[in-house]
């Protein structure tokens, strides 16, 4: 389907443009403004150029938070993508069992994020929680408020519980779009289970998996509410990731200038990664879309 060139299409885009500009450009301009000012009082501010950026880059606490964030996001991807794909393969493709599995699996996705934190708080505490209590009964010294390792494990497990269904749902949709003929041809060609996965299912799921990796990386990089509710960033600052660090600086300490500078750097990191991934997705996609393959 070749699309005609028509600049009047901008009329269709205008409402969206206006909305998002209001929600995004205005605040962004504010942030940029703050990032180059020293705000001494509500009425007095001094232009300081790139001072805040330099300070932010030197901030060792920021470096720690960034490192924690990167490790967290990597762990998230390493755990959730394979697990989600495995789930997608395990789900029945049709019938009432399929609907039931979809509904149950989707539930964690629709829980307000603070409630997710609450659920895991109630579950993980040694005094009132099933998880915490069972572990103590088994002799494991588990306390996420005291031990950084336990706090990390809890937060990771919570994130897996919360977001793996998204990967699974995307993977499931990708699998459903594979026509039966591929599996039939594989049967005739004598391909085993692993070969079917490697040469048919995985390549056909490439689109959905890229989206899954993109979404999971972005969202895990921005995570705030869930760990905040469970551990509050602690013990100490062992589970303080970037968003929390930023919020602390901006709202807690009211250091608007440095906070704004950091915000911009934060935003740019995500943007860069996503631009790279998006471009790769586009170019990889166009390679395999050259002929019409889908059946009528």
């Amino acid at each position: 389907m070749s699309k005609p060139y028509n600049n009047k299409a901008w009329f269709f885009i205008l409402p969206v443009f206006a909305c998002v500009a209001f929600s995004a450009i205005l605040p962004l301009m504010t942030v940029v403004n703050y990032s180059v000012q020293d705000i001494i009082s509500p009425t007095k501010s001094v232009f300081v150029g790139l001072e805040w950026f330099r300070q932010t880059m030197r901030d060792s606490e920021l470096h720690d938070a960034l490192l924690r964030q990167v490790i967290f996001s990597l762990c998230v991807l390493l755990l959730q993508i394979p697990l989600g794909v495995a789930l997608a393969l395990a789900m029945p493709s049709k019938g009432w069992k399929s609907s039931a599995a979809l509904v149950i699996l989707s539930m964690p996705l629709l829980i307000p994020w603070n409630v997710v934190g609450t659920i895991w708080q109630i579950f993980g505490r040694a005094d009132i929680g099933l998880g915490g209590h069972t572990l103590s009964a088994l002799g494991v010294a588990y306390n996420y408020t005291a031990s950084p390792i336990d706090a990390w494990l809890t937060v990771l497990l919570m994130d897996v519980w919360h977001w793996t269904p998204l990967v699974a749902l995307l993977g499931f949709a990708g699998l459903r779009s594979i026509p039966d003929a591929y599996y039939q041809a594989a049967q005739i060609d004598g391909a085993g289970r692993w070969a079917v996965f490697r040469y048919i299912q995985l390549p056909k799921m490439r689109g959905v998996l890229t989206i899954a990796v993109l979404l999971r990386f972005m969202d895990s990089f921005m995570i705030y509410t869930e760990p905040f509710v469970v551990t509050g960033g602690g013990p100490g600052n062992s589970t303080t990731f970037l968003s929390q660090y930023l919020t602390q600086k901006a709202v807690g300490q009211f250091d608007l200038g440095p906070a704004a500078a950091f915000s911009l750097i934060y935003f740019l990191i995500i943007l860069l990664f996503c631009f790279v991934l998006y471009s790769w997705m586009q170019s990889a996609g166009s390679g395999s879309k050259s002929a019409v393959e889908t059946p009528p």
Binding site: I188, D189, G190, Y199, I200, P203, G287, A291, V292
Partner: protein, 363 residues
Amino acid sequence: MARIEFQGVGHAYSAHPAQPSDYALQPMNMVWEDGGAYALLGPSGCGKSTLLNIISGLLSPSHGQVLFDGKAMNHILPRDRNIAQVFQFPVLYDTMSVFDNLAFPLRNRKVGEKEVRHRVHEIAEMLGMTGQLRQRAAGMPADAKQKISLGRGLVRKDVGAILFDEPLTVIDPHLKWQLRHQLKQIHQQLRLTLIYVTHDQTEALTFADEVVVMTDGKIVQQGGPDALFARPGHTFVGYFIGSPGMNFFPITLAVDDAVEISGQRLAVGAATMAALRAANGKLCLGIRPEFVALAEPGAPGALLADITAVQYLGVCTLLTGAIAGLPVKAKVDSGIRVSAGRHWLRLVRPETIFFCNDERILL
């Protein structure tokens, strides 16, 4: 090589089929001779894909026995039968090169690399794809992809039959004849049994030595293209084959031994008359447009028709009209100049077929 036999093979999706309509494929006996080129022709939903999948083993029939060279095959997996199947749209392993695609079935069966290379090159040459072996399969045009699909079937030495499920559906029209030609060449070279499913009669009639016409889950006739054209055994064959299909006129026998079409008398030969009288059921006269001829007014075996459209088609002239309200088409020589209006058309000719309950009456 494979001689495939069906003994009472049928398939129903429900557990206890009661009537014919419960069957996707009605139980049948059939032999597919070794090295034959067959076309399975029929409209959508007639059961031809079901039949094909039973042969390839992708579907296990609910009734009957499938035999390959005398061996019972019902529970043998597709990979262990010596068949290959080409589907409606190209089925390829996108991440692999053309070479690896062709090599795949061999490597799955643990064939040595030297042998693999040898076979792949052999088949690539047969298909005219030797120069493209190192290219990625995903980026090729549809007809090349179908050739690769076909190649995957040919590459196995033990393949005895190749099954095609409407394989030219996504191919551009001007490339279709090229692929069909190549298929015929391969057939002559390798003498494999080829079974080709299609709903396109031109494809079926040009490709196959023997055409099997199906409708509603059963085979209505099988034979060479000329037999199907000139001597259809069933009204469906008459209707489906030929473009346009056969003209049909329900006939009644008048009290005084005459044949009538919508009240108009029609003269038929004595032998025909005897057969019609002996027949018990719904009677019908069929004649192909190619054999309907213009006649003198009142000529024997002719009736008055109202011709409403005259189309000059180059090779012939197509007349469209009605006889006593029943539609009729005639193809006459393009040299004859005809205008719309009332003309006499001869319907009773040597090529005319009479049907009783949709089955041909043998005279």
